[in-house]
């Protein structure tokens, strides 16, 4: 039963208030894109053991989507941030590096 802080409304929300949305920062490939790109967008996921960026929606709260950086093995949360971004912001990267010096972005 995770708790994540919704960056939109500021509430520390229990997992029962949240809906998971899978891996974050996927780049959408539309009509005309090569099969390999489309396959990776639609089906292929990191499935990391360790640091992972993922989408959550504060479904039973403010209704907003947000993103979280989390360790899938220890469930440690490095931070949550706005969904309106294409890559993890610098402060999130710094927070991860502080805890996981060996980690580097995929």
């Amino acid at each position: 039963m995770l708790t994540l802080t919704c960056p939109c409304c500021g509430i520390s929300a229990c997992e029962t208030e949240l809906a998971p949305g899978g891996e974050a920062h996927l780049k959408r490939f539309g009509p005309g894109s090569p099969d390999a790109d489309f396959e990776s967008y639609l089906f292929l996921r990191q499935n990391s053991r360790g640091v992972h960026f993922e989408r959550w929606r504060h479904a039973m709260g403010c209704g907003k989507w947000f993103l979280a950086a989390r360790d899938t093995a220890t469930l440690e949360v490095f931070g949550t941030y706005s969904a309106q971004t294409t890559e993890p912001p610098a402060d999130i990267i710094a927070a991860i590096r502080a805890k996981r010096p060996d980690w580097s972005p995929a």
Binding site: R28, W65, V77, A83
Partner: protein
């Protein structure tokens, strides 16, 4: 024989007698007794029969870890199996029966199993699965089903009459366990100002300390305990709960506690159980330790008990398990039992100590009291069938030659203590093996971690391995301060000094005697509840089971309702010995919540019966209910399936409703239809992405049918889009799709196209919507009167208008799902019922007939309209359904477009939508497959299509169906066969039904009826 002692019993009130019954026999106990102590006091030593061998069993422990004394509690609706007698507080009128015996507890026919233990060895079930195969079904399974199992399941029609509830709490600190360690931790935390919830699973504070003769600050432990509780009760920031077990510790400080509020006081208006759902910063597990049994031959016989339990029964309830008790031990602690029994005037013929020396202070006291202490001594056998009449002593380091017979009627055994590390381990805390003291204890360097990556559980006192009273108190303070500093609280009061007699080291003893042969090892029980013996674990090791997790499942060691509280450490030590491995290398099995079983009632809480899940009601729900609607659940809604009249079957009602609608006037409650407003400068652009067809070109005042696909290209929802004005649309979704599609929209708007200016609102429940359908639809609206021109010229098919109808503020949509002239009228939800009543009144002369979802389904099928969930199943694309016309060729992009470019999606061999007419006019079975020639690699008949919708059409007086068939639209007129589930007669081929492929539009193919 067990009996009530003339004195003692700190927890019972001898002035109050409580009547109860066991197996129909009337007995009495005292207020404060548990069922186990009252049964022992009444001389009832046998309390149950074992799982596999039906061996007579007595109570072994005094608390939550009890494996044997499981009873059926209560009768009828209140009947509950597998209740532990040791934690069942006695109350007036309690009724218990013993389990797993036939015909009686004292004489059980299944005991014959015990004579043939070699028929049921480790892995018995798995072995019977393998060979010979027919044996499992015809021999083993019927026998096992009859004789195995513990309690009797409640009757199928029993309904729990009790009330359960759940509490939510947020706190800084949860302390599990109200012994002296838990109390001391609570004092530290309370003084430091932290918010504390202290839970104790029994009805009493203080744990074992009063029983074990501990002194604190020079006074008896009980004095300090009472003072501590008084101090804590006065602290506003400390919350004390008795009869409340911390059942599980989960991620990020989530804790479940199980409070047995009224088990001991039935008939009050309190809820029976309460489940606490707690978020806490830190957890202190002051959960104590459990004594381990010793594995000697006959250690499961009634009258053989844990030494600590013998002490508990004597001190707490004034009960002695026997008049002559042999103590067998590998440590000093059990000497306390011998001394206590001697103090109570009972006989202790000897202490059999497995160690080669025993000279600690407790041993010296025992010798001084004249108790015979025999070192390097174990038990080679226990005499007696349904109770103990004596033991055979032997050398511990030998093979079990009897050196002496000792007459006794009880045995108190102690194999040392294991810290209760469950709560530490539930969320990933790791353990370390303490070889000197022979137990696993928490490894402080590998705690369970929370959302910040920091440890959030500490064990305190005996649970941390600090078994001696002085260490316990000191450790409790140290660990409490550790937890408090993680919460940024500081504490620093003087720690009370606790003391008890010093103890000399134990000798790890896993098999007694050490050199026992196979016959003796087959009588040494490890898991009492599941009947697993030393020989079973050794057999598993010989058969190649090296992992403790595999051995557990193969032998069922530790898999019973007690989850191996007494058996696990002994079992894995025996496994380690058999594998010639170190105990820490073999490791423990996983500790999983709950610590002891919790009731299903508490888990359900108040979510039962009508409030199991919320029910959504349309504004017309009450009318439907009052008019006899047969309900169909649709998501959380209830929709009328049909409105049967007295004496009318559902099918007759559906046919009547369809005929009335097609010939005159039908009314449908369409309020559940999803309604989402999409507004903003980019609303049209957004809907162009969501729908396969073009929505931005829709003119205000017009409606358009559209399809939504997933990014995988598959059809997921459909409905009519209405352009309200230049920058706003009203999107109609399916009934079940409203919330999902709204969330889908928000996902794309928030996470992909966040710079688009679009706002969405789900207004499904703000509107009541009524479909006025049939040739007389316009007539009834004209009768009500409207300021809208409802003529076909002014308001043609697929147009809409806003105005007043019959005095109501309304939107009128010329849309039709039935193929009839149809006006869907939306009014604010609060006016829905009034409009419905007005339509019924005005429509009386046209035989206005409310129709339900089944009539809706049949009418749409007559028209060949698809239904999401019938024609679609997540693998169907619009092109399969003849809906290519609704896919824009002009748009560069829409959700699903890229996916539909894939070769499999454009394969001409896909199954495609057609109509199906049986040659004999019958109704095709739902879900039938169209058969093709030959069989596939699995020996199954090849298929070439399937039925997606099938009905009896009263309009056409025959069965009609839609289905997906390979290249179907190119095969019009062809006759193909469909399978049925009818069982063929012997020797005959399975029955099939032949159907002709036709257009899916069965009724009014030109579409003239709605266009008038």
């Amino acid at each position: 024989m067990s009996t009530r002692l003339p004195q003692g019993g700190r927890l019972i009130d001898r002035s109050k007698t409580v009547k109860f019954s066991f197996n129909g026999k009337h007995m009495t106990g005292h207020a404060g007794d548990t069922l186990a102590s009252a049964l022992l006091a009444s001389g009832q030593v046998i309390m149950g029969r074992s799982f596999k061998y039906h061996r007579p069993r007595g109570v072994m422990a005094s608390g939550a870890e009890e494996p044997n004394a499981l009873v059926n509690l209560g009768r009828g609706d209140s009947h509950e199996p597998n209740q532990r007698a040791t934690v069942t507080e006695l109350f007036e009128g309690l009724s218990a029966t013993s389990q797993n015996h036939w015909p009686s507890l004292d004489w059980d026919i299944g005991e014959v199993n015990a004579l043939l233990p070699r028929v049921l060895p480790a892995g018995f079930y798995y072995k019977t699965f393998i060979y010979p195969r027919p044996f499992w079904k015809h021999v083993f399974e019927p026998i096992i089903r009859r004789s195995a199992g513990l309690g009797r399941a409640p009757e199928h029609d029993a309904r729990d009459p009790d009330r359960y509830e759940q509490f939510y709490a947020h706190t800084d600190l949860v302390i599990a366990g109200g012994g002296i360690a838990g109390l001391q931790a609570a004092l530290e935390a309370g003084r430091a100002g932290a918010r504390v919830i202290l839970c104790e699973q029994t009805a009493h504070w203080g744990g074992r300390a009063p029983v074990d003769g501990v002194e604190i600050d020079g006074k008896p432990a009980e004095t300090w305990i009472n003072d501590a509780v008084q101090v804590l009760e006065k602290m506003d920031n400390v919350h004390l709960r008795l009869r409340c077990m911390v059942a599980g510790v989960y991620d990020h400080g989530y804790v479940i506690a199980y409070e047995r509020v009224a088990d001991h006081a039935p008939g009050t208006d309190a809820p029976r159980h309460r489940l606490w759902r707690i978020r806490t910063g830190q957890v202190i597990a002051a959960t104590g330790a459990l004594e381990r049994p010793l594995s000697f031959p006959g250690n499961d016989k009634p009258g053989v008990m844990l030494a600590s339990a013998v002490r508990d029964y004597a001190v707490n309830w004034g009960v002695s398990p026997g008049a002559r008790t042999v103590v067998v031990t590998n440590n000093d602690d059990a000497y306390r039992t011998a001394l206590l029994l001697a103090d109570a005037g009972l006989s202790v013929p000897c202490i059999a100590d497995a160690r080669s020396e025993s000279d600690g202070p407790l041993a010296q006291q025992a010798r001084a009291r004249g108790i015979r202490v025999m070192t390097n001594t174990g038990i080679a056998g226990v005499k007696g069938l349904r109770g103990v009449v004596g033991v055979q002593l032997c050398r511990q380091d030998g093979t079990g030659e009897v050196i002496e017979d000792v007459t006794c009627d009880a045995v108190a055994m102690s194999g040392g203590w294991s810290p209760v590390v469950h709560l530490w381990s539930h969320c990933g805390g790791k353990l370390t093996w303490d070889a000197e003291r022979a137990f696993f204890r928490p490894d402080p360097s590998r705690p369970p971690t929370n959302q910040t990556g920091e440890g959030f559980v500490v064990c305190a006192g005996a649970a941390d391995g600090a078994l001696l009273a002085g260490d316990t108190m000191q450790n409790a303070s140290t660990m409490a301060r550790k937890a408090l500093s993680a919460l940024d609280f500081t504490s620093g009061a003087a720690v009370p000094s606790a003391s008890a007699a010093e103890e000399s080291p134990l000798l790890p003893v896993w098999i007694m005697p050490a050199g026992a042969g196979p016959k003796k090892r087959a009588k040494m029980w490890l898991d009492f509840q599941n009947d697993v013996k030393v020989s079973d674990v050794q057999l598993a090791a010989r058969e190649g089971y090296e992992s403790v997790e595999h051995t557990k499942r193969y032998t069922t060691l530790g898999m019973a309702t007690d989850q191996g509280k007494l058996s696990n450490i002994n079992g894995l030590a025996v496994l380690a010995q058999a594998l010639d491995e170190d105990i820490p290398r073999v490791g423990t099995t996983t500790f999983r919540p709950p610590y002891t079983p919790i009731s299903m009632g508490a888990i359900a809480g108040e979510a039962r019966g009508e409030i199991f899940q919320p029910l959504r009601r349309t504004p017309l729900h009450a009318w439907h209910e009052a008019n006899g609607a047969a309900w169909e659940p649709v998501g959380h809604w209830r929709r009328p399936y049909c409105y049967p009249r007295p004496g009318e079957s559902h099918r007759e009602a559906v046919n009547r409703e369809i005929t009335a609608t097609r010939t005159s006037l039908g009314l449908l409650d369409a309020s559940t239809l999803g309604k989402i407003v999409v507004k903003g400068p980019d609303a049209g652009r957004f809907l162009d992405m969501l729908y396969t067809n073009m929505m931005s070109t829709l003119k205000p005042g017009k409606c358009r049918y559209g399809l939504m696909c997933s990014e995988n290209g598959f059809l997921m929802d459909d409905g009519v889009v209405v352009r309200l004005d230049d920058d706003s649309f009203l999107v109609h979704t399916t009934t079940g799709g409203a919330d999902r599609i709204h969330a889908w929209m928000e996902d794309w708007l928030q996470c992909e196209w966040w710079d688009w200016q679009v706002y969405t609102a789900n207004v499904t429940e703000q509107w009541a919507q009524i479909a006025v359908v049939g040739p007389k639809a316009r007539a009834v609206l004209d009768k009500l009167g409207s300021d809208i021109d409802l003529s076909n010229d002014a308001l043609p098919f697929m147009a809409w208008a806003e105005g007043r109808i019959g005095g109501f503020d309304a939107r009128v949509f010329r849309i039709s799902f039935s193929g009839e002239l149809s006006f869907e009228i939306a009014v604010p939800a609060s006016q829905g019922r009034a409009l419905w009543d007005a339509l019924l009144a005005a429509g009386a002369e046209f035989d206005a007939t409310p129709y339900g979802t089944e009539a809706l389904h049949v009418m749409r099928a007559e028209k060949g309209f698809i239904m999401i969930g019938d024609e679609t199943d997540g693998t169907v694309i619009p092109q399969d359904l003849g809906l290519g016309w609704a896919i824009s060729k002009k748009k560069e992009d829409y959700l699903g477009k890229r996916a539909q470019e894939r070769t499999h999606m454009t394969d001409p061999g896909r199954w495609q939508l057609v109509g199906l007419e049986t040659l004999d006019g019958s109704v095709l079975p739902d879900g039938s497959y169209a058969l093709a020639e030959g069989i596939n690699v699995n020996g199954q008949r090849n298929t070439q299509g399937r039925v997606t919708s099938t009905y009896f059409s009263p309009t056409l007086s025959r069965g009609i169906a839609m289905g997906l068939v390979v290249q179907g639209p190119e095969r019009m007129g062809e006759v193909i066969a469909f399978n049925t589930t009818q069982k063929p007669a012997r020797g005959e081929a399975p029955k099939t039904i032949e159907a002709r492929i036709v257009s899916p539009v069965f009724f009014d193919p030109e579409g003239e009826k709605p266009n008038v």
